[in-house]
Symmetry: C2
Subunit: 165 residues, 2 copies
């Protein structure tokens, strides 16, 4: 557990990592950013032990990055959605993705593409939209799996996730 | 060790975290970004076990984020400096710091301030310089500890670190 040993450091990076630096936590946030909401979806996507996922979701909920919401009454079922605080880490996920795209490329190209919301243009690592030439900010960026995006020359198939990537 | 379990995921975030997601690794990169270069400086700053620091520096060197350089011949002594690839994570460190400043503030204010190089203006979380009103990019951002910067109304004391924060 990366996260919980930095308390003595007067450093905002260390403080952030106390909350999101634990094993798997950033990937849980990634999946929530991509629009997954239910425990079973998250567990399948991540392939992690149920107790680890429960622990991570519990901590993210306690810290206010994630809101736990009842979506079914009998039996009771909950879903998990990002709060504004959780969405505030979108820039971290975005730049980790772009850095990985550049330095550890997949043979098939980037697994996900970043798109300018509304415009559909491809957004590069400097937050520049190739289609409309605008500088975009993270709240205007959607992502979609490789192969589903307009930028691949294919008509948009799957709906874009409602944020970063 | 957060880093080494994500290999099967077709995801650039997971790939990045395989390299920099291990416990302490991002804080080692932080200190190198702040200008620390020597093993003993890093060990003192981080307060971690020598074998852990050696392991992290070894992995960062193997992956090309850090370059190990001989600076003294007898006895042989090495220093560690970021490569361009290592500096490429500056945006991740910057946004982790800004998110921590916002959500886990220190009672004394942000431990480090982000400054527009040359201009000296304070750079906010949207990469906007308060002094010259420019949009800046990460290669134009320096950081300095709280209390040493021009933005505190005190004459610049300690030199600003040569990057992000």
């Amino acid at each position: 557990v990366l996260g919980r040993d930095y308390g003595t450091q007067d450093c905002s990076i260390a403080r952030s990592l106390e909350v999101v630096g634990e094993r798997w936590t950033l990937l849980v946030l990634r999946d929530l950013t991509f629009g997954l909401r239910r425990y079973d979806e998250l567990r399948r996507s991540l392939g992690i032990a149920p107790n680890v996922l429960a622990d991570r979701l519990g901590r993210l909920t306690d810290e206010g990055l994630v809101v736990r919401r009842l979506y079914q009454h009998s039996p009771e079922r909950f879903e998990y959605v990002l709060s504004d605080k959780g969405r505030g880490l979108a820039p971290v996920l975005f730049h980790l993705a772009k850095w990985g795209d550049l330095h550890y490329p997949s043979p098939l190209g980037p697994p996900r593409v970043s798109l300018h919301a509304g415009c559909g243009g491809s957004v590069d690592e400097r937050l520049h939209c190739a289609t409309c030439d605008a500088s975009v900010w993270f709240d205007e960026i959607e992502t979609a799996p490789r192969g589903t995006a307009q930028t691949d020359g294919v008509e948009a198939g799957a709906p874009a996730a409602p944020a970063v990537g």
